[in-house]
Symmetry: C2
Subunit: 471 residues, 2 copies
């Protein structure tokens, strides 16, 4: 543990030198041996620090010459701005959302707007084998009702698999759901009544805004930093009004922000004091670009107020609709609600996912998938810096597969969308991710697509459309 | 059409003569030829009338001797009583429901309490083949999100298959759901706000009571006749208070009652006048014992106020969670709700069911299944008349697979349940099927089980437990 902290500390120092310009693009780094002497650490620790920096593409090795500051370390575009705390003036966005959704099944359109990985990145053949195996193993072919709480094998495997929670979860703490969306809906339904106020991120996943509307709630949009997530000071100001919070703590959608551990700890402390439930949407947590999976807020939860939601929708199979929630002290209510909404979940897919996790196939897939996503992230950022107009701002996700772009104030991305679709390119306009009249000059791009020259050309065309708009 | 009415009219006259005792057990009926002359109808029509009576087991043919009044026509036990219209004094039944549910997965218990057919009656091998086929045909193994409205093949097939609606439905009118329970939940959520009052049957399926609670609604229990269903006069009295009705029109659970066509028509007329939505739970409609599938209320709906709900949970595969709703004028709202609850349904099972229906396998299964259910129904009724104390009342289901028993007032079936479970027999206590303090001396038995000597012995033991209780 001590060792890990040391090498990360050194990596951070060097990263700071790169971003401040002390170490410039293309410049040679000190050798591993000199770092070993300089910081008084083992050769191994020095090596690990360099590997960490390399994994973030900040430095690159050259054969027989040592390490150099890499091109990707030098960002031309800055990160997007943070919104202000806003009072209610909701305007409906259903039409915009429908418009974007209606093109999702068109195969000739490049789907930067998707909220799911392209199927070329998913282990479909292996999953199919899993289905055939599960069908044969089931005594009843999955025709019987499952326990309301959900498939026992899946709950056991998810509990085992949530290593980052260090054994705080057992199968008995989990309830399976129809994807994370269903977990969020149920959590919010369990802890609010119509008219209640909750806190959400800004920008936030548009699905959460739809749940808020569906349940007759009000939502305060908390300013959210592209790197560190929700602003704790802003939450403090509205705390007495809140009946619940609903945040994506790890690699939020659309910003890709990651709450630092200290923020998570402080958030849970604050909410525990006021007895306000935190619905934690942690469905991107396994798609980290750093050294290890970040902890969820649930890790710091002693009072059972954190309702930890997850799924395989962003990593394996969106269409399976397999998710889960560890609802803390609200478990019984969630189970009752699940019964009154659907009695039980279909057994087969849960069994397939449990088996996939249990036998190391999930772990193997995640490793490959994360590498692809990180490489794609760099390619997309590079392409956008090459093709988009100066002044464009771009997020710096630390995991997940969403990029958030802030364009010139003159651009309305809801209008731009129509022009892009004519050129067979789809993206998610920024206005979808808020209740208020803001982010009109923003867009979300999905980079969980197979990278190739066509994609590069599509990003160039999208950049050209933006440039044309500014003329 | 005219012809059908004629033979049914004649069958009804004869049925009346049997139940009034004009025609006695074992007595010979007039010959087909004399009916032909007596009623001035064709020989064919007379034959059809006799077939109708035979299909209801009221008469039986004997070789070369003609038709005779059969044993099953003579019921020793009368039908259960109808409740009174009650004001609110709800008492919770969650503990009782949990108690019953907790024994559902115990394989050594005879599950008369189940709300689903035993797996021995389901075409599991054929369904499994369907799964393997669907997995191979899917380009993406079902990993992608489906359209929110649901699988197109399933919607198209359900629309085609709902012949009884005479082409009034298209695929565009349907939304797929996670079983009928999910359809009911969504319909009620779409047309009510917390605090609203709706009308339900009494006794009614306990799941509906749980939805009512979950959504913060109030429910008026409408007196329901074991043969003809909800009492229209009682509905009329409370009509101005209602925001919706939620009824099982065909073979209600637990009574097995069937609303006559004229009642359905009048109900829809009344509700249309007041613009009150009718949520019609028609999941037992295909399990008819008569000549043809009864029409749903939806058939009489011109204004789009009937939300017609169905599934394969009672006929094929409860665990698949495949259902649908034709929500009339509330379609857009239902689709928006579905998005905010779960985004989309899993594709695979919907595809399997669509294929099963499309290729005649569903039709074939239903024919066999209905015959088994009807035979079982007669066996159960016979056994109960043999083994239960005099004064027991028993329903006369015209379809479905539930029997409703009314025992001596001294019996409390919630207490009796504990004694039955000790003897490895489970049933559903009557108190589960109402919000009020009533039906404490009633029980529901599921007869969708493989009939054999053990089942006969179990019913005898259950009868003995009741008799002992009365001593």
């Amino acid at each position: 543990m001590k060792k890990e902290v040391l090498y990360l500390k050194i990596a951070k120092v060097i990263e700071g030198q790169i971003s401040s310009g002390t170490l410039k693009l293309g410049e040679k780094l000190p050798s591993i041996r000199s770092v070993h002497k300089l910081y008084n650490v083992s050769i191994n620790t020095a090596k690990q620090a360099f590997l960490e920096l390399e994994s973030k593409s900040l430095i690159e090795p050259r054969p027989k010459s040592g390490y150099f500051v890499s091109k990707t370390s030098q960002r031309k575009f800055s990160i997007p701005s943070v919104s202000q705390l806003k009072s209610y003036n909701e305007e409906p966005t259903e039409d915009l959302i429908s418009k974007v959704f209606n093109t999702l099944n068109s195969k000739d359109i490049t789907q930067f707007s998707l909220g799911a990985p392209d199927k070329s990145l998913l282990p479909i053949a292996k999953l199919n084998k899993g289905i055939v195996k599960a069908v044969r193993n089931f005594e009843d072919g999955g025709t019987s009702y499952e326990p309301i709480q959900g498939n026992v094998n899946l709950r056991r495997t998810v509990a085992k698999w949530s290593l980052v929670l260090e054994g705080k979860l057992t199968e008995d703490d989990l309830v399976t759901t129809s994807g994370t969306m269903n977990a969020l809906f149920n959590c919010l339904m369990a802890v609010t009544t119509p008219g209640d106020t909750i806190a959400i991120e800004s920008p936030t996943y548009f699905g959460i805004i739809q749940i808020v509307k569906s349940l007759g709630l009000k939502a305060i949009e908390i300013p959210t930093h592209p790197i560190t997530g929700v602003d704790l000071e802003a939450i403090k100001k509205v705390l007495p009004q809140l009946k619940a919070c609903c945040f994506v703590s790890n690699f939020s959608n659309p910003l890709g922000s990651l709450m630092p551990d200290e923020h998570k700890k402080e958030l849970v402390r604050m909410l525990t004091e006021y007895d306000i439930p935190l619905i934690e949407d942690d469905l991107y947590g396994n798609l980290f670009f750093g050294i290890s999976r970040p902890k969820p807020c649930k890790y710091y939860d002693e009072a059972g107020i954190v309702m930890w939601c997850g799924s395989v929708s962003k990593t394996l199979a969106p269409g399976y609709r397999v998710g889960w929630v560890a609802p803390g002290k609200f478990k019984e209510k969630i189970i009752r609600q699940k019964f009154s909404q659907t009695i039980s979940s279909p057994a087969l897919y849960q069994e397939v996912i449990a088996d996939f996790m249990e036998h190391g196939r999930y772990d193997h897939h995640l490793r490959t998938f994360r590498n692809k996503l990180y490489a794609n992230c760099l390619q997309f950022q590079r392409a956008i810096e090459d093709y988009f107009p100066d002044g464009t701002k771009i997020s710096q996700p630390q995991g997940g597969f969403m990029l958030w772009l802030e364009l010139d104030k003159a651009i309305d991305t809801a209008e731009l969308y129509d022009r892009a679709i004519q050129q067979k390119i789809s993206f998610a306009p920024g206005r979808m991710f808020t209740q208020h009249n803001q982010y009109n000059n923003c867009m979300r791009l999905n980079y969980a697509l197979e990278w190739n020259d066509k994609l590069d050309a599509d990003l160039k065309r999208l950049g050209d459309i933006v440039k044309n708009e500014l003329k």
